[in-house]
Amino acid sequence: MRQMSAAFLILAIVTMIAACAAMTLRGLVHCALALAVAFAGIGTLYLSLGAQFLGLAQLLVYVGAIAVLIVFVILLTRGGDGDASPLIPTGLPITGIVVATTILALLAWAVFHSFAMHSLGPPATPATVRELGTVLMAEYVLPLEVIGLMLTAALIGAVVVAMKEKQDTQ
């Protein structure tokens, strides 16, 4: 525990609490706000790990756009006022939690027995925006174009799916 900085610990705890809250709170909008806090926590985790551009991009994209989008959809589907489904839904709550805990145990075991526990390479120098830019434009120019294409397709697809069909509304 000694090598990890205090900031990292605090951020990790805050993110975990926010993530658990996002999953367990009754009110839907409360879940969405807790989710936004979790995203902000993860963004600041990236900042503490030195990936400045990624952390700020995460803050901009997730907290600025996706959290607001989720909140909009909650309100559009009238989830805002009434309380969400009861906390312990009938049917399959236990199996879900059991599966999740087994996977967590598996992952934790893997982490504790992996190389990560002891040998530690020199931490990478934080990537400057200019360096990211050149790498993005040099090696990853194809994925960049494909991502652009995919985002446009997703945008148009989302609008078409969510648009109110003029003719066949009952």
Binding site: M1, Q3, M4, F8, L9, A12, A19, C20, M23, T24, L28, C31, L35, A38, I42, L45, Y46, L49, A51, Y62, I66, L69, I70, V73, T77, S85, P89, G91, L92, G96, V99, A100, T101, I103, L104, L107, A108, V111, S114, F115, A116, M117, L120, G121, P123, T125, A127, L132, V135, L136, Y140, P143, I147, M150, L151, L155, G157, V161, A162, K164
Partner: protein, 103 residues
């Protein structure tokens, strides 16, 4: 308990919380929230290995993180559009009611 292990533990816990939420909650929006959390957990691994991994320095981790954020944003947009369409059609976002219906 190196920082890398710390990061990996945090991301696996996040992943577990996301998975538990996605599997147990009955409201479709919360399932989508669970998926978003899982995606973020994976993202955290990218950055952790870029920062502390053996061949640290090559900034592929951050680039992958960026692409994964873009993909997750597109996925969230389309997912929410689908939820809206389903809601307009069936007036409910409760998964248990949706599964059994003949469309």
């Amino acid at each position: 308990m190196t920082p890398l292990a710390g990061c990996l533990l945090v991301s696996s816990m996040l992943f577990a919380v996301g998975l538990a939420g996605a599997l147990t909650r009955r409201n479709t929006i919360l399932v989508l929230v669970g998926i978003e959390l899982m995606l973020n957990a994976a993202n955290l691994n990218f950055v952790a290995f870029w920062r502390f991994g053996h061949h640290a320095g090559v900034s592929t981790g951050v680039i992958f993180g960026l692409f994964s954020i873009a993909v997750a944003a597109a996925e969230a947009a389309v997912g929410l559009a689908l939820i809206l369409a389903v809601y307009r059609h069936t007036k409910t976002t409760d998964l248990s009611l949706l599964t059994g219906r003949a469309q």
